[in-house]
Amino acid sequence: MTDPVLSVRDLRIRFRSGGRETQVVHGVDFDIRGGETLALVGESGSGKSVTSFALMRLLPEAPRCTIEGSVSMGGVNLLELSERRMAQVRGPRIAMIFQEPLTSLNPVHRVGDQIAEAIRFHRKMSKADIRARVIELLTLVGIPDPARRMHAYPGEMSGGMRQRVVIAMALALEPDLLIADEPTTALDVTVQAQILELLRQIQRATNMAMLFITHDFGVVAEIAERVMVMYAGRIVEQGSLADVLSNPRMPYTRGLLASVPRFEDAGLKTGPLGTIEGFVPSPDNLPAGCSFHPRCPHARPGICDGALPELAAHGAGAHLVRCARSDEPAFGAEPAEVS
């Protein structure tokens, strides 16, 4: 196997505000290889965006936010780089597409200039070459009449078109790793399909690694090779697409899958409503033991509310599960308790 493009070890993130410190990510480990798409799924507030911002060091500065652990790329821990060296990583090495296409472009600059800017500060290229590259990128992401549209302001474009501009910007320097934070959630279904197809094509052409954040398993099944499920700032299940989608061992993953209609008839035993009751716990008030146990239909007192379960291998492969009961023979076959 090739070396990973990016290796994350024991990533911990804390925010401080008003003298109070809240840890929102509690020791996350993962690798991503070239050409591979790793999906990161989880409910709202589970820490997906914060984790991805930490990889690019886009979180607030030191006293307001602390990042610990390591994020290695080519043998260098990005968390230890100076801000100046880090700026050289952002763009050519790691690029990002953001969750909110409507607000992630500066409304007062023309879209073409905003893409050109992404190139200008990393490559010594003439104005004419940059312009040609901007047009090439806009064509690539499927914006019609790019020579004219590059002069438009973000406010003159639809959400789908703006997200394409953000994608063009992220792809401008052909990054080794693209982080896509719910790039299609805010868009309608047809646009969503087009953008996914576009990302897949580009990935095939450039062997780019992709960290794809979403809470939609339909999207995961279409785009990812490996899946990572996050809950309350921890990875709770990780494995190949087949492992996680067809043989989920963590009740939380099952709950998530059951809320997607098309996975319901895959023979998975889930709660009667197919949705997870309750809410993601607040980061500064996590339950003892497994963070999910208060909402879990399989939770057992004395087993699930004591020690925090390890993220342990299930079976022979690389399928990792954080659940105290995942190896019990009857587990998964028994009917879930209705709470």
Partner: protein, 316 residues
């Protein structure tokens, strides 16, 4: 754009009309009235006064006098100063340059310094610098301008003798450097309060922009810090400041009033105080109109400025 311009022009005309009506009524109802200066002349009888009032048209009903004044004003005749019979428009015009020179210099200082302090304070929020800027602004805002002016005169003119204590130029000199040296103290004293105001607004506006998603996008592109600050933070944070600048334009007269008095600067503020003392109603009315017109122009320029700076407004 054309519709916007006509709309704004009409709005401006209505505003000026309303201000002029209120101003005219208040001045004519105020005790004393235009005749009071004649009344003090020895040997003046009530008959003489009535005759003068008739000559000046003051015995007509106020609405008639107002319409008469309005028609004249629109045709460029703003009346004559009671003091020396020179046309009001000339008097205002003559004093305007002094005020513009003072205000222009002081505003340039205030905007440059205020922007710098505001942006640095926001970028280094809660730092020692930010804290000092906040306290400094509070001090500048809570101490009256005339006190600053008098203290400055005491130290720099009387004690140290570095700068002239007042006036716009030395009679007989009037070189560029002579004007400049007279400008230093009043423009800085006048700028103090505006630096404080401008830096506070700029700090708030910058903090607001720094939290925007597009600033994070700019960082994600790997832009150097100076570029993020200049093109994505300051550039956007200045837009609301244009409106603020437009609102400040008409405060020229009021703003300079104290400073011009302290430094015997021959501008519109001084003219206003002097005219009040003389009951020089045509000039007072003229200054009122001038200020109303500046308000309209200020808003108008600010709207155009914002439209130029912000495509969302321009194209929306």
């Amino acid at each position: 754009m054309i519709r916007f311009l006509t709309h704004r022009t009409l709005q401006g005309i209505v505003l000026i009309l309303i201000v002029s009506m209120i101003g005219f009524t208040v001045i004519n109802l105020a005790p004393g009235g235009p005749l009071s200066q004649y009344a003090m002349t020895p040997g003046m009888s009530q008959q003489d006064l009535d005759r003068i009032a008739h000559q000046m048209g003051l015995d007509r009903p106020i609405p008639v006098q107002y319409l008469d004044w309005l028609v004249n004003m629109v045709s460029g005749d703003w009346g004559k100063s009671y003091r020396d019979q020179s046309p009001v428009l000339d008097v205002v015009w003559r004093h305007m340059w002094a005020t513009l020179l003072l205000m222009g210099t002081s505003t340039a200082i205030a905007v440059a310094l205020g922007t710098l302090i505001g942006v640095l304070g926001a970028l280094k929020r809660y730092s020692v610098f930010d804290y000092m800027a906040t306290v400094g602004a509070m001090i500048a805002l809570s101490i009256p301008t005339f006190w600053f002016g008098l203290v400055a005169i005491f130290f720099f003119s009387l004690e140290l003798g570095w700068l002239p204590a007042g006036n716009m130029y030395t009679v007989g000199d009037q070189s560029f450097s002579d004007y400049a040296i007279h400008l230093i103290m009043p423009s800085i004293v006048l700028a103090l309060v505006n630096v404080a105001i401008w830096s506070r607004y700029m700090r708030a506006s910058t903090l607001d922009v720094m939290d925007q998603d597009y600033v994070r996008t700019a960082r994600a592109k790997g832009l150097p810090r100076w570029r993020i600050v200049s093109a994505h933070i300051v550039r956007n944070a200045l837009i609301p400041m244009i409106t603020l600048a437009g609102l400040q334009l008409p405060t020229i007269i009021g703003g300079a009033l104290v400073t011009e008095t302290v430094f015997t600067w021959p501008g519109l503020g001084r003219l206003f105080i002097d005219s009040l003392g003389y009951n020089d109603y045509p000039v007072i009315m003229g200054l009122l109109m001038f200020s109303a017109i500046l308000t309209v122009i200020g808003n108008f320029l600010a709207d155009i400025g914002v439209a130029l700076a912000d495509p969302r407004i321009r194209l929306g």
